[in-house]
Symmetry: C2
Amino acid sequence: MNIGDVAKASGLPAKTIRYYEEIGLIRPQRGANGYRAFRDTDLHKLAFLGRARALGFSIADCRNLLQLYEDDSRTSAEVKEIARGHLDEIDAKIRDLSEMRRTLAALITACAGDNRPDCPILDGLAMEQPT
Amino acid sequence: MNIGDVAKASGLPAKTIRYYEEIGLIRPQRGANGYRAFRDTDLHKLAFLGRARALGFSIADCRNLLQLYEDDSRTSAEVKEIARGHLDEIDAKIRDLSEMRRTLAALITACAGDNRPDCPILDGLAMEQPT
DNA sequence: ATAAGGGTTCCAGTGACAGGAAGGTCAAGG
DNA sequence: CCTTGACCTTCCTGTCACTGGAACCCTTAT
């Protein structure tokens, strides 16, 4: 399979697949013409990577997960630890964003949004709230 | 005020303040020794920027907000539009993260996390779920 | 022979800084 | 007067995970 086929099959852009090779996540063979020659295992790995990335795992996490995936002597505890660490990060991000959302929504609600210059949003950013 | 004082007062790292000058968000004067000489207005702007960034506004948004902040002929509608656009982005991020969280949490729950190699997390990433 | 549609490499840019090197400046203490 | 240490300066590189584009090669069909 050429890179275009693998891109279609995996849903990843060809650019991304080349990048994954560059950083050593996959090692496709090469044909006589210099083209990458992907085997099924490469395709599986790319699909795996695509799903892991879609769940927000970092490339470093993906590398570890892929290694565990290929290691028959892994323990599920190792995998679960990575996943839980990532879940914690996701939760932290959701918390941060929710707090931002709360503050921002309050400012937006307070703002008339008309053609006058008075704006509680700018006041809030400038900390010029009237007592 | 020197950059260190302003950094303490605004809560922004000196590196960030230099960066904000570099991209034209602030224009502090310079003393005879080459040091940046910050006035109160610079400090206010930096505090404004710090709060806008803490709400997740992009630098581009911050630039626009700062411009509106200094423009007496602004309308609150302009400000509100920027803020609502950003709120939409935050909501989209929260939705994405929540969906990731949902999927990931399900996988984690299904994983024993013991010393055996069987792992629903890896299976899920590899799409090898038993029917 | 040529044109379209693959593929290849390499370089630059993204956003918003952070780290660090090399060197100038300032105030206090010996 | 000199040194020490804490500042300040600029400049360069690195981050993360790609994306865009240039310049060029290969394959297949007409």
